[in-house]
C-alpha cells in the first residue's frame, strides 16, 4: 500500500518537473523572440534608420552575435569582442560581398582596457586604410579584428549565395 503510494508520489513529482520544463521552454522561446525584436530595433536605431524594420537572426559564431537584415539596404552584423575582463560591442554594416562599409560602436564593459583601442582598430578596418597610429596593444588585438572581419565576410557571402540560389529556383 505504502509502496504504491510512494510510486504514485514519485510520478506526481516527475509530472510537476515535466510541467516546469515545458514552462521554462515556452519562456525561453518567448524571451528569444522578444530579444530578437529588441536587438533588431537597437541595430536600426544605431544605424540611424528606424524605418529599416530589420529582421534579426542570432548567429553566435566567433565574435559575431547576430545579423539584422532590412527589407531594403545593407545587412548589419552585431559583434562583441569579448575577453576575460570585458567586451566591446559594435555594429558592422556590410555590402553584398561581405566587406565592412562602416562600424558603429554600441558600448562595452566599464573599465575594459582594450575598448578604446578596439574602437580605433574597428574604425580603421572599416575604412580599409593603413595608419601610422600604432600601439603596443595592437599585436594582441589585430588577430581578433581580422578574425571578426573574416567571419562576417564568410557569413554574408553564404547568405547572399543562398538568396541567389533561392532566386534562381
Amino acid at each position: 500500500m505504502s509502496e504504491s503510494r510512494n510510486t504514485s508520489d514519485i510520478w506526481v513529482a516527475i509530472a510537476c518537473g515535466a510541467v516546469l520544463i515545458v514552462i521554462a521552454g515556452f519562456l525561453s522561446s518567448y524571451a528569444a523572440r522578444q530579444s530578437s525584436l529588441s536587438l533588431a530595433q537597437k541595430v536600426d536605431a544605431a544605424i540611424a534608420s528606424p524605418a529599416r524594420r530589420s529582421t534579426w537572426t542570432t548567429i553566435r559564431e566567433g565574435y559575431v552575435l547576430g545579423r539584422a537584415v532590412p527589407k531594403k539596404g545593407h545587412a548589419s552584423y552585431v559583434v562583441a569582442a569579448r575577453r576575460f575582463d570585458g567586451e566591446y560591442r559594435a555594429i558592422a554594416e556590410v555590402d553584398a560581398d561581405g566587406s565592412v562599409l562602416r562600424m558603429v560602436p554600441i558600448g562595452g564593459s566599464n573599465g575594459f582596457v582594450y575598448g578604446k583601442r578596439l574602437g580605433v582598430l574597428f574604425a580603421r578596418a572599416s575604412k580599409g586604410v593603413a595608419s601610422a597610429d600604432r600601439s603596443p596593444l595592437d599585436a594582441p588585438l589585430e588577430p581578433l579584428v581580422v578574425s571578426m572581419l573574416e567571419t562576417i565576410a564568410a557569413l554574408e557571402r553564404s547568405r547572399t549565395e543562398a538568396l541567389d540560389a533561392d532566386g534562381k529556383k
Binding site: S28, D85, N110
Partner: protein, 196 residues
C-alpha cells in the same frame, strides 16, 4: 569541546562554500553581471533547498537529490530567460555563466535532503545562506568594477575609464578573495585576542 568542534566545522564549511563560489566570483567582474549572477544564484539555491526540504523523505536521498538538481537547473533556465527579456546583451555575455550556478558546491549542498527534524526546522537558514552568497557575488562584481575603472554603473556605456584594470581579470578576483580572506582572518584573530 564538542561545541568548539562544531564551530570549527561551521567555519571550515563556510570556507569550502566560498571556494565553491570561486567560479562565480571570477566571472563576476562588473556590477551588472554581478547582479545577474547574484540574483540567479539566490533563485537557483532557493529552488534547490526548497525542493530538498519539501519533497517527502520516503523518496530517499538519491531521488531527492536528483529532483532538487533538476529543479535548480530549471530555475537557472528561468533566470536566464528573464535576463534575456530584460537585457539581451547581458544575456549574451552571461548565459554560459548562469548555467554553471546549478553545478556550484553550495547549490549541490542545498540539494541534499536534511537528515534530522532539527535540520529540517533550520531550513530557513539555507535561504539566508543563499542570500549571503548572492550578496557576496554581487558585491564582488561591484568592487572589481570600481577598482578596475574607478566608477560603477549598471548599464554598459561607450565611455570606458581605467584605474587598475587587473581587477577585472580573473587574477584580480583571486587577489581580491585572498585579501578579503586575510583581512577576515586578521579581524577574527584580533577579536579573539580582545576576548582574552
Amino acid at each position: 569541546m564538542p561545541m568548539e568542534r562544531n564551530r570549527g566545522e561551521q567555519k571550515g564549511g563556510a570556507w569550502v562554500a566560498l571556494a565553491g563560489l570561486g567560479p562565480l566570483l571570477v566571472f563576476s567582474n562588473g556590477l551588472s553581471i554581478g547582479l545577474a549572477l547574484g540574483i540567479s544564484f539566490l533563485v537557483v539555491h532557493s529552488a534547490a533547498a526548497a525542493s530538498a526540504l519539501l519533497l517527502p523523505a520516503r523518496f530517499g536521498r538519491a531521488r531527492i537529490f536528483a529532483f532538487a538538481a533538476v529543479g535548480a537547473a530549471i530555475a537557472a533556465s528561468l533566470c536566464a530567460s528573464i535576463i534575456r527579456l530584460l537585457d539581451p546583451f547581458l544575456f549574451e555575455s552571461a548565459y554560459g555563466r548562469i548555467f554553471i550556478i546549478a553545478f556550484t558546491l553550495p547549490v549541490c549542498r542545498a540539494c541534499i535532503m536534511p537528515e534530522t527534524i532539527a535540520d529540517r526546522e533550520r531550513g530557513v537558514e539555507n535561504v539566508v545562506r543563499g542570500l549571503a552568497y548572492a550578496l557576496v557575488v554581487a558585491v564582488t562584481g561591484a568592487v572589481r568594477e570600481f577598482i578596475a575603472s574607478g566608477t560603477v554603473s549598471v548599464n554598459y556605456s561607450g565611455a570606458s575609464t581605467a584605474l587598475l584594470p587587473i581587477a577585472a581579470q580573473p587574477a584580480g578576483a583571486f587577489i581580491l578573495i585572498g585579501l578579503c580572506a586575510a583581512g577576515f582572518n586578521a579581524v577574527m584573530r584580533a577579536a579573539k585576542g580582545s576576548e582574552r
